[in-house]
């Protein structure tokens, strides 16, 4: 699955294993683009989860899937900082702001959209630094940047506590287009199907919600 799911997935898998203790799930985290390329060349993956509908759709069009891509959650973004609390309003006071790449990550794209909609983009444009992935945004914030835009799921992860005290502000979801988290089933294996279905179960939704995802879709 895509990298932004690093934090929720172990939780979901744990819960899943409570119900199906015999099914062992290998979690492979990588960027959506890489995974898509790999699946297109026959990577032996069973379920693909992406933070973006683009990649699942592409796979679907190429005929690699057993199901249509389905949205199982919507992501949200937050302003994250270790120094003090930032909001969209006072973000112009930050000397540097880390975002993940708008071109390749939906969270980065959403961040830029929000800046534009909040009319601060032109003021902070020159202070943006781009990280390859959302976790890299955290590294940037830790080492240099005053603030960073991350997926909200991250600030709920337990690993973030390693960093000590931190601040975050959710960005109003009206300011950016929805970040649809797509899932598709790639194989006929029974276990895969079970896991795929589990994603849309109440239990899974509860966990996802706890991690800041919006599960009120459709």
């Amino acid at each position: 699955s895509a990298a932004n799911l690093t934090y929720v997935m172990p939780r979901i898998i744990k819960k899943f294993n409570v119900i199906y203790p015999d099914i062992k799930i290998n979690l492979i985290l990588s960027s959506s683009g890489k995974l898509t390329a790999q699946i297109l060349r026959g990577a032996p993956y069973d379920v693909f989860l992406s933070a973006n509908m683009k990649y699942p759709s592409k796979l679907y069009k190429s005929g690699f899937c057993k199901t249509k891509p389905k949205v199982y959650a919507k992501g949200s973004i937050s302003i994250f900082s270790l120094k003090r609390k930032f909001t969209l309003k006072n973000l112009i006071n930050a000397n540097s702001i880390a975002v993940s790449k708008p071109m390749t990550t939906p969270y980065g794209k959403a961040a830029i959209e929000s800046f534009k909609n909040a009319k601060i983009y032109n003021k902070i444009k020159n202070r943006l630094v781009f990280a390859q992935t959302v976790p890299a945004v955290i590294s940037y914030v830790k080492n240099y940047a005053d603030a960073g835009i991350v997926s909200t799921s991250m600030v709920y992860s337990k690993n973030i506590k390693n960093l000590g005290k931190f601040y975050y502000t959710k960005i109003d979801s009206k300011l950016y287009s929805p970040i649809n988290q797509g899932a598709i089933l790639l194989s006929d294996k029974k276990a895969a199907k079970k896991f795929y279905n589990f994603l849309f179960s109440k239990t899974a939704k509860k966990i996802l919600k706890k991690y800041g995802y919006n599960v009120n879709y459709e």
Binding site: A3, T6, Y7, N26, I28, L29, S30, K34, A37, Q38, R41, G42, A43, P44, Y45, T133, P135, A136, I138, S139, M154, S157, N159, I160, N162, L163
Partner: protein
């Protein structure tokens, strides 16, 4: 905290196999490059260096395309040898070999180019063929270059990551090498684990490298003594 040593074993196994294979291929190829007077020599030389110019993940992407089961090479490997070249350990070996190719070739070639031609002639005149001359006279006399080639290739394959990730797909126990595992920990903000894994990787690598250099150092001192 429980450690999984499999990624390390995979890493060093991969590095070892890649270095060995490249050595076998690299020596004759570097030799050819060093002796040929052909006009295509600079062309081949430039070509040889190209794999390192591409970013590893991009090279990995292209390799993925070329090695995939439905590609020409993938088909051949599959049909003839029943080997899958992507998302498998043999695939990692092939991909790493391509990426690390220049690191093996170039130092060896430069060693060959600096060797005193007289001793090669002396060996031929002793009735020794090219093969024996290569192993008994030429290679022992370019030891510093050979060492450089082996160590750069080895270390680089251990640290290799972009290509391996792309072609191998980090399947635990099969293609998830140490570098990928560490990367995952960093991504997962599990810095503590990442530090420990990095430290282990560094320590093992250091020990391997140190042993090689130390043996080399001792040997040289032995000679200096006379």
């Amino acid at each position: 905290m429980n450690f999984d040593f499999t990624p390390f074993i995979l890493s060093f196994k991969l590095a070892f196999i890649v270095t060995l294979f490249l050595l076998i291929i690299g020596i004759p190829y570097a030799w050819y490059l060093s002796v040929t007077k052909s006009k295509i020599k600079p062309f081949l030389e430039a070509l040889t260096a190209l794999p390192i110019v591409l970013p590893p993940s991009v090279l990995g992407f292209y390799l993925l395309v070329f090695l995939a089961p439905d590609s020409f090479i993938g088909k051949i490997a599959n049909d003839l040898f029943n080997i899958k070249l992507v998302f498998s350990f043999p695939g990692l070996v092939v991909a790493s070999m391509i990426y690390s190719f220049p690191f093996m070739i170039q130092p060896i070639q430069s060693g060959f180019e600096s060797i005193n031609k007289n001793i090669i002639e002396a060996s031929y005149l002793g009735g020794k063929g090219k093969f024996i001359t290569l192993f008994k006279v030429i290679l022992p006399n370019i030891k510093p270059s050979l060492l450089t080639a082996i160590i750069i290739t080895f270390a680089h394959t251990v640290g290799e990551f972009g290509v391996v990730l792309m072609v191998g797909g980090s399947i635990p126990g099969k293609t998830e090498v140490a570098s990928v595992a560490i990367y995952d920990y960093v991504e997962n903000l599990e810095y503590h684990k990442a530090h420990i894994y990095s430290a282990i990787l560094l320590v093992i690598s250091f020990l391997v490298l140190f042993s090689v250099y130390y043996i080399n150092y001792k040997q040289k001192r032995k000679y200096d003594f006379y």
